[in-house]
């Protein structure tokens, strides 16, 4: 039940511990961590800068989280997304969900990252050897998010 947009890195272990520590009804804790991938193929640094829409981004993440909680019996959930300049290998996003049983935790975690990627206002600007380049939205991401609409 928490959403954070921040420049700083996060400690995955500490975040997961804090999420489940006080609720012993939780039997499963699922998480997804997104990392900056080196797209230069070893040709040089390929850092990226993540831009967001302060206000709307937090609001959208909270809406997506609320939707997950309507669909699955979740005991706890967390979305942390970074902004600013990030180097290859750095963490971008953490999505974590906790439930009594694994199925709800695993499914809702996948749902959250799929919806986040196609709805939350973030934009990636990559530094490539040829210069800066705005990352284009991918059809596969739209298809992944749309899978969750069928049962809605």
């Amino acid at each position: 039940m928490a959403v954070r947009v921040q420049r700083e890195d996060f400690d995955v272990g500490a975040e997961l511990d804090a999420l489940a520590r006080d609720d012993h009804g939780i039997g499963g804790l699922a998480s997804f961590v997104g990392l900056v991938r080196d797209v230069s193929g070893g040709a040089g640094a390929s850092a990226m800068t993540l831009e967001h829409y302060p206000g709307m981004t937090e609001r959208l993440l909270a809406e997506i989280e609320a939707e997950a909680r309507r669909r699955w019996p979740l005991s706890a959930s967390l979305i942390v997304h970074r902004h600013g300049r990030l180097e290859p290998g750095e963490r971008i996003v953490l999505v974590a969900t906790a439930s009594a049983h694994r199925k709800a935790a695993l499914e809702s975690c996948e749902f959250l990252i799929d919806w986040l990627k196609t709805k939350a206002p973030f934009w990636k600007l990559e530094e490539t050897p040829e210069g800066e380049r705005w990352v284009e939205a991918r059809d596969e991401d739209d298809a992944a998010a749309a899978r969750w609409d069928a049962g809605a």
Binding site: G34, E51, M56, I92, L116, P121, F122, W123, W134, A137
Partner: protein, 83 residues
């Protein structure tokens, strides 16, 4: 009306935000985008393909037919690429 531009819309238009008073015939999101495109070559280039422009009115996604009003905060941006 406050306008915000993000990502390549911001870099192509050349500003991140501005306050505008659209003409009276601008009633909807689609009207607004069409009017903005007439405001100079940078706007025309950035908005040449409205199908790749996402619009949010008061921080909620809006469809082309949604009405816009003078006090609104309207954001224009490309499809999102976070995560």
């Amino acid at each position: 009306m406050k306008l915000l531009y993000f990502a390549w819309l911001r870099t192509r238009i050349g500003i991140s935000e501005e306050v505008v008073e659209p003409p009276a015939h601008v009633a909807t999101v689609a009207d607004l985008v069409a009017w903005l495109a007439t405001r100079g070559p940078n706007f025309a280039t950035a908005l040449e393909n409205p199908s790749v422009v996402r619009v949010a009115v008061n921080q909620e996604y809006a469809k082309p037919g949604q009405r816009v009003a003078p006090g609104d905060e309207v954001a224009l941006f490309p499809p999102v690429t976070g995560g």
